[in-house]
């Protein structure tokens, strides 16, 4: 895998197709490979690929520090690339100005990998390796959520209170999210202040409600938010709940179909309304 990956990147840099490769490089001491930005074809030897490549690099397509480096090629997994699909649907990137190198993945030993149905990238310009995409029934994909929802609401509330009590509002969840691209996050808006910036329980609930709902029907389930949380708050459950609702109600799985209409901002006269008096 690694050799063809490096070769592809070298070729793309050498022939001037791209000016920078966004990939994974081996950290000196850290356990996880970290993102590297390779501009010199002779440096492709820095690229690594292993089962620790958990970071979703798609975020870097949006960061202006990386944008100034020129036209990028980006290394993605089948799960990561869904974010590229959404970013294009939401006018954040010009797909023709990005070369996507998909790498087949057998899993990164994360909970979501067990129910992954995107081991093999589908929308990449170059694909390295082969993996089999096994369709996963929705019940399996949302099993963690279903189990959680078996508790009574008061227990769920107690769970989130205990979790969000720890949130320090470092915004790592937002900064790592490939779909958080607002020029000015709503939490930074004052006049009026929509939600308290304080890392109190009140401010933290408001923040995590906003964060989850701003990803409603958009979240691609890459779990970066949970991965990076220094307080270990597992945000998967809220993301899953939004994903399940948009799949169940609108047949929409974010990032799986570039042609699909986005859920919010569109509507159907047939949308359910059993809950409306």
């Amino acid at each position: 895998m690694l050799q063809p990956l490096r070769e592809t990147c070298r070729r793309l840099l050498q022939d001037g197709t791209v000016q920078v490769v966004i990939g994974y490089g081996q950290a000196v001491r850290a356990v996880e490979p970290y993102p590297v930005f390779i501009t010199d074809p002779d440096d492709v030897g820095q690229l690594v690929w292993n089962e620790q490549c958990r970071t979703n690099l798609v975020k870097y397509l949006l960061r202006k520090e990386i944008r100034v480096l020129g036209k990028p090629a980006i290394v993605v997994k089948g799960c990561d690339e869904r974010a590229i699909v959404v970013l294009e649907q939401e006018s954040q990137i010009d797909r023709s100005q990005i070369v996507v190198i998909g790498v087949a993945c057998d899993g990164m030993a994360e909970p979501r990998c067990e129910v992954c149905d995107a081991h093999q990238p589908r929308f990449a310009d170059h694909t390295i390796g082969h993996a089999t995409n096994v369709a996963q029934p929705a019940e399996r994909r949302y099993a963690a959520l279903c189990e959680f929802l078996e508790q009574p609401p008061s227990d769920r509330m107690a769970y989130w209170k205990a979790e969000l009590e720890r949130c320090v509002k470092c915004y790592a969840c937002r900064q790592a999210c490939p779909l958080c691209y607002c020029e000015r996050c709503i939490v930074e808006k004052n006049r009026p202040t929509c939600l308290d910036t304080s890392a109190t329980l009140k401010g933290n609930f408001a923040w995590h409600i906003v964060r989850a709902f701003h990803l409603a029907s958009r979240c691609v389930g890459c779990d970066q938010c949970s991965r990076v949380c220094p307080e270990g708050i597992d945000l998967r459950l809220v993301n899953l709940s939004m994903a399940r609702a948009s799949e169940a109600s609108f047949g929409h799985r974010s990032g799986t179909d570039p042609q699909a209409e986005l859920v919010l901002g569109n509507y159907s006269q047939q949308d359910q309304e059993h809950f409306i008096r």
């Binding site: 939401e90 006018s91 954040q92 691209y181 607002c182 020029e183 000015r184 996050c185 709503i186 808006k189 006049r191 009026p192 202040t193 929509c194 701003h214 986005l262 919010l264 901002g265 569109n266």
Partner: protein, 666 residues
């Protein structure tokens, strides 16, 4: 610091009975930002409005809350009063302590407490109101009228006579609409064509009217006062400037078997044809599906015969663009298709009446053609099947109308009168004939209408049976009509020679697509929605778009004409100023914060949001952002809720205002 005045109204006893106005005023005076608090018996009265003006001046107020009735009742009144006192009208808000409080909460202390809360909310809001100026937009003084039936003709002529140019678009080869095919009209029995055709000619000759027939509205862009309309002129294959309308061409056309649309299939026409003798323009058209030259490449006798060299087989559809200031939709109606369910399967047909199966079961519009002197029988009433004169004719009301089971719940309004007229016309031509009418109720509201129905029954001897018909069968060349007379309480079977079904009125096909192009909403039946059923009957919620005639709901000719003139009046009023003034309570984008995801644009019901580019000083593209077109925005705020970063906000209901309102309830 804010200087807000709260003015609380007693509304006589209306508010004061359940709300302690004095106490409310005292508590309101204590609210943050409130400079003064006053009360008046009737705030909307002259002295009440004077109090408002005087208070604004004396206390140099920068915000006013009137605690009285619903803003739908008097917000405009009070904003005007403020304007007279030189306070920007948008700095006035209302607290609805009557409809929402005193009238519904008889317990005085609770109503009083709630009234204070409602004022608290309004004060919190008005602190964040901004002085707004109406948005001015230039206006193109030209009107598009869609539909050339009697309503469209009336509207077009009224406007054109006032000196304003009109573009009239008609789908059919001739204007005239449904009325041109009628024989006589109720309740005067005057000849339909005699009154309509002169108006049609007037349209054709009017210097201010541009007439496009065989044409459709393809696309509507822009906004009130500034629409750009694309019109598709379908190929007519005739150069109507050269053509003299002499009729030589259609007299020699060998393709003669196409059912005539104008006669609703009761007669046939040629492939090159004028829809009816008085058609305007008085020019033929070639039916491309029937013409041998266009379908098979053979023939061309018409070309040889035409001395004006006016036939153009190579004719193509043409797109014309017109700059338009206002649009009047007058697309009229069609009859409910009796025999079959509609294409969406929603409206089930009446298979049991045998329409389409039995040639002598016809619709009321077909009967009009049978009676008409210009019709296929020259005005003699003869059965379509064998040409004999029917001696017994049964007329059925409410075929489709008022029938929830068939999917149409409404009354088509004209059928009762049409049936009465038909029994009379029949009796006047077939003296020994007998007319029967099955009806549910007779609805003859209107000047001389009931008298007209009575005449049909009492003078012309029509038999009226209150009841419905369950089935029509054919036996020995006659139609057996099985129904019930509910007044007599017994089943009734009539052997008839002809059955006429008064089918329901439905909006013309394609009106929904047109409505979407002009952003007008329509009801579940496809009738276009007016702004307000009573007070704004010809306006729509799309600025600059008006409706008249049967596209808005079933109506008869006088009503359609009245509405058309009303719509024309509205348009002329709109054009009486050089610029249009629009409500400034619209959305605007804070471009520095916009990320350009365009979810606002996806959701905007008015297509009022366009992408705009931000470039740096070197001209390099920095970002794409959303921008609101103030001419199109109607201020619904859907964009605000869709914007994740809240980079778009709505004047009048801004984030700041709404949050302040909620916070005030803490």
């Amino acid at each position: 610091m804010a200087r807000i005045g709260v003015l609380t109204c007693w509304c006589g006893e209306n508010i004061a009975r359940n709300v302690d106005v004095q106490s409310v005023a005292e508590q309101a005076a204590q609210l943050p930002g409130v400079r003064c608090s006053r009360v008046h018996k009737y705030m909307c009265s002259d002295p009440g409005q004077k109090l408002i003006r005087d208070t604004i001046a004396a206390e140099r107020l920068d915000g006013v809350v009137i605690a009285s009735c619903s803003p739908h009742m008097h917000l405009k009144t009070f904003r005007k009063a403020a304007e007279h006192a030189s306070l920007n009208p948008y700095l006035v808000e209302m607290a609805n302590i009557r409809e929402h409080c005193s009238w519904v909460h008889p317990e005085r202390s609770r109503a009083t407490a709630k009234a204070v809360d409602l004022i608290r909310v309004a004060v919190a809001k008005v602190r964040h109101n901004r002085a707004l100026e109406p948005i001015q937009v230039p206006v193109t003084r030209k009107v598009l009228v869609v539909g050339g039936g009697v309503a469209g003709i009336q509207a077009a002529l009224d406007i054109a006579d006032a000196g304003v140019p009109v573009v009239l678009v008609e789908r059919e080869p001739s204007i005239g609409g449904k009325m041109a095919g009628l024989s006589e009209t109720f309740p005067t029995l005057d000849c339909s064509q005699c009154i309509l055709t002169p108006r049609m000619v007037e349209v054709a000759q009017h210097p201010n009217i541009t007439l496009y027939t065989c044409s459709d509205v393809e696309q509507v862009e822009g906004y009130v006062g500034n629409f750009q309309v694309t019109i598709r002129k379908r190929a007519r294959y005739i150069d109507i400037d050269k053509c003299t309308g002499c009729g030589q061409c259609w007299s020699v056309c060998p393709s003669k078997k196409t059912p005539s649309e104008f006669d609703y299939g009761l007669g046939a026409r040629t492939a090159i044809y004028a829809p009816f003798p008085q058609a305007v323009p008085a020019r033929p058209v070639i039916d491309r599906d029937a013409c041998l030259r266009l379908t098979k490449g053979r023939c061309g006798v018409c070309v040889k015969k035409c001395q004006a060299d006016a036939i153009r087989f190579e004719d193509q559809d043409e797109l014309v663009r017109e700059d338009i200031g206002a649009i009047i939709v007058a697309t009229g109606y069609q009859l409910y298709e009796i025999g079959k369910p509609d294409d969406r399967g929603r409206i089930a047909g009446y298979g049991e009446y045998g329409y389409g199966r039995y040639p002598d079961v016809i619709s009321s519009l077909q009967f009009e053609r049978l009676v008409s002197a210009s019709g296929p029988t020259g005005g003699e009433i003869r059965r379509p099947s064998d040409g004999t004169v029917p001696k017994t004719v049964v007329f059925l009301s409410c075929v489709g109308s008022r029938d929830n089971a068939k999917g149409l719940s409404y009354c088509s309004k004209i059928c009762c009168m049409v049936n009465a007229k038909h029994t009379m016309l029949y009796k006047h031509k077939v003296h020994d004939g007998q007319a029967h009418v099955f009806y549910m109720d007779i609805r003859a509201g209107g000047k001389n209408y009931d008298e007209f129905v009575r005449r049909a029954i009492e003078q012309d001897g029509a038999h009226y049976h209150r009841g419905r018909v369950s089935k029509i069968t054919q036996e020995d060349g006659r139609l057996i009509v099985r129904g019930v007379d509910t007044l007599a309480g017994e089943p009734l079977t009539i052997a008839a020679d002809l059955v006429v079904l008064a089918a329901a009125m439905r909006p013309a096909t394609g009106v929904e697509e047109l409505a979407q192009k002009v952003n007008v909403s329509y009801d579940e039946f496809g009738f276009l929605c007016e702004s307000h059923p009573k007070l704004r009957p010809v306006e729509t919620n799309a600025a600059g778009v008006f409706v008249c005639g049967a596209c808005q709901g079933p109506k008869d000719i006088p009503e359609s004409v009245t509405q058309a003139s009303a719509a024309a009046g509205k348009v002329l009023m709109m054009f009486s100023r050089d610029r249009l003034y629009r409500e400034p309570e619209i959305a605007h984008v804070q471009e520095s914060a916009c990320a350009g995801c365009f979810s606002c644009r996806r959701g905007c019901p008015y297509h009022a949001i366009d992408p705009a580019e931000i470039r740096d000083r070197q001209g390099q593209l920095v970002r794409r952002v959303a921008r609101v077109n103030p001419g199109l925005c109607m201020g619904c705020g859907t964009c605000v809720a869709l914007c994740l970063s809240k980079s778009i906000d709505l004047e009048g209901f801004s984030e700041q205002q709404v949050y302040a309102m909620v916070e005030s309830l803490r």
